[in-house]
């Protein structure tokens, strides 16, 4: 007799892989219709997988995706849809850039301080949505969408009116005051792969431990899975909502840190743009599981990194954006289909067992 949990995990993984292949097939049709050669496109795209440069770039791009997917996933575990990762990240970016540049600390401590500042800022911004949900019963999807735009405007205004510094050398690039080198996050591979990659992996491991191995995680999953039952066992759902929103926001605060501490070392417009949104797709494809998130972040990171190669073959690299949109739709549709199929399978199995028992 096979382990049913393992069986279920295999089905889940298989359905995600299937979704990716479906997306590749549909994108191939789109390429064909628009007069591009899909074979050439895919051989260019996946041919790049052999180059170590591309693989390093993939891991580098996957870093913020893993973190933002973890932020989204912790909400999902509680049945909360945090679309606000982008806004939380943006608030955290400017706050950290300004606060981090204002203090003087020894090297390692300075980085740690910046990460804590980022997490606090992200958590506070997400806390608004959490408070609105708990106290005023405002749907978090709507409030986080609105808060994203408010964050965008607020940060742009604060940056433009207070914190921008005209740099004498690059007059076109306006940034905040540069962080001192003690706050820089070191690279693993010089200028290619930043050390935040390790932090992201550690975060995913921590995510797994907290959600699946602690009492808090059990309560979280219980209230997400069946809030009525959870309440009956003494879990305070409002408190859980607020905590998970704060946690999600704290993780969201870290999303931009690879770009800020590891790359640009100052805030500028468009820094880490879209990385909060892209985490949603990664979390969906990864089925909110750390291992799934890890692999899907690598996939999306790879698509982003290798898409540049397509342009050399005169194929618009935007086909990879289309692909990720299709992946999201395909993965949720296939999940639903598999869930129905699985339910029927279990039903049939149970019926057969009962009938066998009745006969004997």
């Amino acid at each position: 007799m096979k382990n049913p949990r393992l069986q279920r995990a295999m089905v889940t993984a298989a359905s995600s892989v299937l979704a990716v292949f479906v997306a590749l097939a549909i994108s191939a049709i789109i390429l064909l219709i628009t007069g591009k050669d899909p074979v050439k496109a895919y051989s260019t795209l996946f041919g790049a997988a052999g180059e170590s440069r591309v693989l390093q770039g993939m891991a580098n791009r996957a870093t913020p995706l893993m973190i933002s997917a973890a932020a989204v996933a912790i909400g999902f575990k509680m049945n909360l849809f945090n679309i606000g990762v982008e806004g939380q990240m943006r608030v955290a970016l400017l706050t950290t850039a300004v606060v981090g540049a204002a203090v003087d600390l020894p090297p390692v401590l300075h980085v740690a301080f910046c990460l804590v500042v980022a997490m606090t800022a992200g958590a506070l911004w997400a806390g608004i949505a959490g408070w609105l949900k708990v106290k005023r019963n405002v749907n978090e999807v709507i409030s986080t969408i609105m808060l994203n735009f408010i964050a965008l405007s607020l940060v742009a205004w604060a940056f433009d009116d207070f914190f921008r510094v005209e740099s004498p050398t690059e007059s076109l690039l306006v940034k905040t005051k540069e962080l001192p080198t003690s706050a820089w996050f070191p690279d693993l591979v010089d200028r290619r792969l930043n050390g935040m990659f390790i932090v992201a992996i550690l975060l995913l491991i921590l995510f797994w431990v907290v959600v699946w191995k602690t009492k808090f995680g059990f309560r979280l999953r219980a209230s997400g899975g069946n809030s009525g039952a959870a309440r009956a066992t003494g879990v305070n759902p409002k408190k859980m909502i607020l905590i998970s929103m704060l946690l999600s926001g704290a993780i969201a605060g870290l999303v931009g840190m690879r770009a800020l501490l590891g790359d640009v070392h100052a805030y500028q417009n468009n820094l880490a743009e879209q990385q909060g949104f892209n985490g949603i797709a990664v979390a969906l494809l990864g089925r909110n599981h750390p291992l799934g998130i890890f692999f899907s972040a690598l996939l999306f990171g790879f698509l982003g990194e290798a898409s540049g190669k397509l342009q050399l073959e005169d194929i618009p690299k935007e086909i990879t954006t289309i692909m990720s949109g299709i992946i999201v739709l395909a993965v949720v549709i296939i999940n639903e289909a598999v869930k129905r199929w699985d339910n029927r399978r279990i039903q049939r199995k149970a019926t057969a067992e009962i009938e066998a028992e009745v006969k004997s």
């Binding site: 735009f149 935007e318 954006t321 949109g325 739709l329």
Partner: protein, 430 residues
């Protein structure tokens, strides 16, 4: 925008409730206009009620209105549409392409077809495959952004006047319309007198020139597509609340199980509603690329689909409410487009409105609201005296901030369709 200043502050006395909706609307309109008139004279900002401002508000508000109606149609049928932005993007691209190939109306037609298809895709995912509505909407936004960028490179790059991120200019306009006598429109070759303009220019009198400016704004420089968009409001009211099909459609949003038990084909209705919703959103997108400007540009919609979503909520899922919301959200932007120096006057308008809300709340003995309103009003007056320019970022953020405040503060007054966004499969939940 006048009426929306106090959606929650309307006194709930019997006398107020007994008034007909038309009278209530006119009282709110006159009251709102009076506030604007007082502020105009105090702040010496003649432009805040000029016909030019009103007519440009109408133009800025039209795409928001269409996006809001798209949200309304979807949610009334029980489907949450986060993908409005994506549908608008598709509409703006189709509009740019169609206007370039076949002229302006060709653009709008192509956009309607494209939007309908995207709407049906959302319906397919949410109705047939039971996908979470928000997830499907996000996927549609990603898909729309990616595919328009992709198609622009294929179709527009290298064309005369076009490029990687913009279409060649479209052919033909729509013609502007001025009402004869009221706004100096032409009858044949004869230019009629412009009566309202004459009244509007008498800036020293309170209220009268503001009324003239408001009305003249609605009847001068109007594009035909704007009239079409506004005509959709009463049409939606009629179809949704006065026809059998509309009743069934709303039952799908309120309680699909109840509708189903009476033999209503819920899923078919949802496909139809989503086709309409997609077409409306795409019309809004095409308005940006063919009417407001004459080229499609990447990123042209700039989040207006989400403002539309906010308008659906702000308008309490009612077509005329959506209209009020779109005017309210479009007004600051229009004012900013014309002359940024007039924007601070809006701080005073908001302050006066808050004082009125506070006065109403005194009658209802809600002391917390009274104090917070008065405190906010004082802050606004101080801000008005301190700043000489409202940062444009605040103008951009106003719709979102207002929506969050409305959601947090006036929840009792909001009545969303009861079943919007919830999973439903026919024959399952009995």
């Amino acid at each position: 925008m006048t009426a929306t200043l106090q959606p929650t502050s309307a006194p709930r006395s019997l006398a107020w409730k007994n008034l007909s909706p038309l009278r209530r609307a006119s009282i709110l309109w006159l009251g709102g206009l009076l506030i604007f008139s007082i502020v105009r004279i105090i702040a010496d900002a003649d432009d805040i009620t000029s016909s030019g401002t009103i007519s440009s508000t109408l133009r800025v508000a039209t795409p928001i209105l269409l996006a809001g109606l798209a949200g309304l149609w979807a949610e009334r049928a029980g489907i949450v549409n986060i993908g409005i932005e994506g549908m608008m993007i598709i509409g703006s691209w189709c509009g740019g392409y169609g206007a370039w190939k076949w002229g302006s109306w060709g653009g709008i037609t192509l956009a309607l077809v494209g939007g309908m298809l995207v709407g049906l895709l959302h319906a397919l995912a949410t109705v047939r495959f039971n996908v979470d509505h928000v997830v499907s909407g996000i996927a549609i936004n990603t898909l729309a952004a990616g595919s328009t960028e992709y198609l622009s490179i294929i179709f527009f790059k290298g064309q005369k006047g076009g490029g990687e991120s913009q279409s060649p200019p479209g052919k033909g306009g729509y013609g502007e319309f001025d009402m004869p006598f009221l706004a100096g429109g032409r009858i044949g070759n004869w230019k009629s007198p412009d009566i309202l303009k004459w009244i509007e220019d008498k800036h020293d009198i309170p209220l009268i020139p503001d009324m003239a400016g408001f009305i003249r704004g609605l009847v001068s420089d109007v594009y035909l597509p704007t009239i079409l968009a506004i005509a959709i409001i009463p049409l939606s009211v009629y179809v949704l609340w006065r026809t059998r099909w509309g009743l069934r459609l709303r039952s799908s949003g309120e309680s699909p199980q109840a509708g189903e038990s009476l033999g209503v084909a819920i899923n078919r209705l949802r496909y139809q509603a989503m086709a309409i919703s997609g077409a409306l959103a795409a019309f809004g997108g095409a308005y940006l690329s063919c009417v407001f400007t004459s080229t499609y540009r990447q990123g042209q919609t700039g989040g207006q689909g989400f403002i539309g979503l906010a308008t659906t909520i702000f308008g309490n899922w009612q077509p005329w409410g959506v209209f009020r919301g779109s005017l309210l959200f479009g007004f600051p932007t229009a004012l900013k487009f014309r002359d940024e120096r007039n924007v601070p006057a809006l701080l005073l308008v908001a302050a006066v409105a808050l004082v009125i809300v506070a006065a109403v709340m005194v009658l209802r003995r809600r002391s917390v609201i009274v104090t917070s309103c008065l405190a906010a009003a004082v802050c606004l007056v101080i801000a008005y005296n301190v700043v000489d320019k409202v940062p444009s970022e605040f103008v951009a953020a106003t719709p979102y901030i207002v929506t969050v405040i409305v959601l947090a503060g006036a929840r009792q007054q909001l009545r969303p369709p009861a079943h919007a966004g919830l999973p439903y499969r026919p024959g399952e939940s009995h």
